[in-house]
Symmetry: C2
Subunit: 408 residues, 2 copies
Amino acid sequence: MKKNLLVAQSGGPSAAINATLCGVVEMGLEHPEIEKIYGVKNGIMGMLSERFVDLTELLADESARQLLCQTPSSALGSCHMKLSPWEENAFEYEKAISIFRKYNIGYFMYIGGSDSMDTVHKLSEYCRNHHINDIKIIGVPKAIENDLPETDHSPGFGSAAKYIGTTLTEIACDCNVYALPSITVVEIMGQDTGWLTASSALARLNGDAAPDLIYLSERPFSVEQFLFDVREKMMEKRSVIVAVSEGLRNEEGAYLTDSLQNRVEDEFGHRILAGVSRFLEEILRQEIGCKVRSVELNLMQRCASHVASATDIQEACTMGREAVRYALEGGSGEMACLRRVSEAPYASEVFFIPVDQVLNRVKKVPDEWINEEGNDITQEMMDYLIPLIQGEIPCAYENGVPVHFHLS
Amino acid sequence: MKKNLLVAQSGGPSAAINATLCGVVEMGLEHPEIEKIYGVKNGIMGMLSERFVDLTELLADESARQLLCQTPSSALGSCHMKLSPWEENAFEYEKAISIFRKYNIGYFMYIGGSDSMDTVHKLSEYCRNHHINDIKIIGVPKAIENDLPETDHSPGFGSAAKYIGTTLTEIACDCNVYALPSITVVEIMGQDTGWLTASSALARLNGDAAPDLIYLSERPFSVEQFLFDVREKMMEKRSVIVAVSEGLRNEEGAYLTDSLQNRVEDEFGHRILAGVSRFLEEILRQEIGCKVRSVELNLMQRCASHVASATDIQEACTMGREAVRYALEGGSGEMACLRRVSEAPYASEVFFIPVDQVLNRVKKVPDEWINEEGNDITQEMMDYLIPLIQGEIPCAYENGVPVHFHLS
């Protein structure tokens, strides 16, 4: 009997998560044993309220799938939701299974970060414990912060890294024009991990002079050492550019910005939440006194599809395809991972691991990939990063701005 | 006798100012009556200290000039300097003229904003008053904020507008994924003018749902009305995106952020300079209470060459070329301007006006191009903007990041 394929997206947006969706749909369309391909809006939350969309026709056309691939964020929407353990709330699980039955779902692909993998684990464990063997559930990772363990890297990271590298080359040009000394602090995503901040170093590949100092979340941050480092750089060059992780903490483990959050109010009592770059900007202005600016790469670093990495988009798509293939072969309760199989030329392959191996674990930047002084990265980190940002996707523009896929 | 051509850049960086430099050099190379083409580093300030660079060989190669065209910011550096009136400080002018003589300069092209045009005016007036007729001085505008009068628009603006439109399409995708209500406030450059903020509306051209509300510097801003507008939008849709000019002022003409600047301190007494978007973010959080984010497009909006407007780059280059032609024909003390000569298809031409016509004047957004409620733009504004962002420049990447021209 033919079965239907269900796909959902969850977690924070990225430039590659729709490429994974595209891969899932492609593989579904290629397999006659799959009848319909359903998407569900807003992840597991939308699944439980049956927010189904039939993608079989909507994405039958290759041009629609191409447009989807260059659309940032999650075309199917996202959610913030973790299931309770099934021993505590069996109702949710029974409901999920009854919905799977109603739509004749044989394969469920859940694309997302660690919370989504938790859902994959719980649902598949429930099935296993209840001898439900005809619903195969596979997780496909997406994590711009690259913090999922076991996989060499996660889709979305390469495109974010490419955006960060590209933007830093341009900021370097911008900051170098004046004859007067200046400091620019660039704040990059990564509450607990410095992968994205490290990728600012990619800006140096073609000779652009940025960044001069790089501070990752993994190492304790000392304001005194920071001021010393900056002063030293300023003796060498006029314009100093510093890349910092948003999640910098002091030696006691407290976020740098903690000291600020409850103290900064305007005259109406409105609290101002200042990020770490703004905090450092002010310290530099007071302590060094030259022109200082702070820049947050903010949402742009995760949604700038117009400068996506072709390697990232292609791998994201392949992972979606392979996940469906693996489910068709009987796999369930597992997560797709990437393994580097060759360095020059770079090549990767997809493999699968039981999804519980990634739960409650965070992949940090290895300490030896950070320099001794804690203010830069090492060549090993560069070698890791470079292949992931290679290649450009020809982004389709109409009327001067990119065209995106919209689920009506 | 053959003369040499001198070119300098000044003012804030943009994605198009190097294209104008490229046009100047190209035209210089094409004219045998010009012997050498000198650039000078750091504008008029560098000129007075003879920071000359011979560009004749450096940019003889078309591939070098192409690379220059895709390099953001000013390859020759910039400065913040206005000359004193020559009646007060003749020494500076005498020095300038003696340097022109030393290098046999017959033509000086100064690319920049209003301060640079002031320099063009003063230098050429000095020459006129001292019967120096063999040094022709022409200003070529660059103003990402598009605030120079007389010209239909200024080079650099189109590329910044294209970056803003593109980025807003991506932010729209990013912000629309969750089922919960949210507000995103995007802060865009423009202390006194709203041209760049208005260009956020370009994101709507292909159906992306952003921005929902647009507030320009030109209209007084009322926090009460703003909260009313946002609440009204939230009844229609889940995710509301607001674009605001950095220079919003209240009805008394005071900057919104003024109330904040002297009050916001951390525990060490460091003042935090919060921008208008951060200010509005906190007001929204307190008054409406849903998820609120603020995003500053910051330096990226003026230096994102990888997403430059082909129309802008081509016009910037043409203005550089035409400025040299005009000087060769004897013009001096004038500024290049653009005039729209056709709407469909769009076409522009270069003309020249006495540079003093643009001094101390700011081109604001016409009031009738802002809607009655002051929270959006009109179709006339869209019609003005659309041609300026058309076309993409194939940006050259190496190692996964853009390649830039570097003056060694």
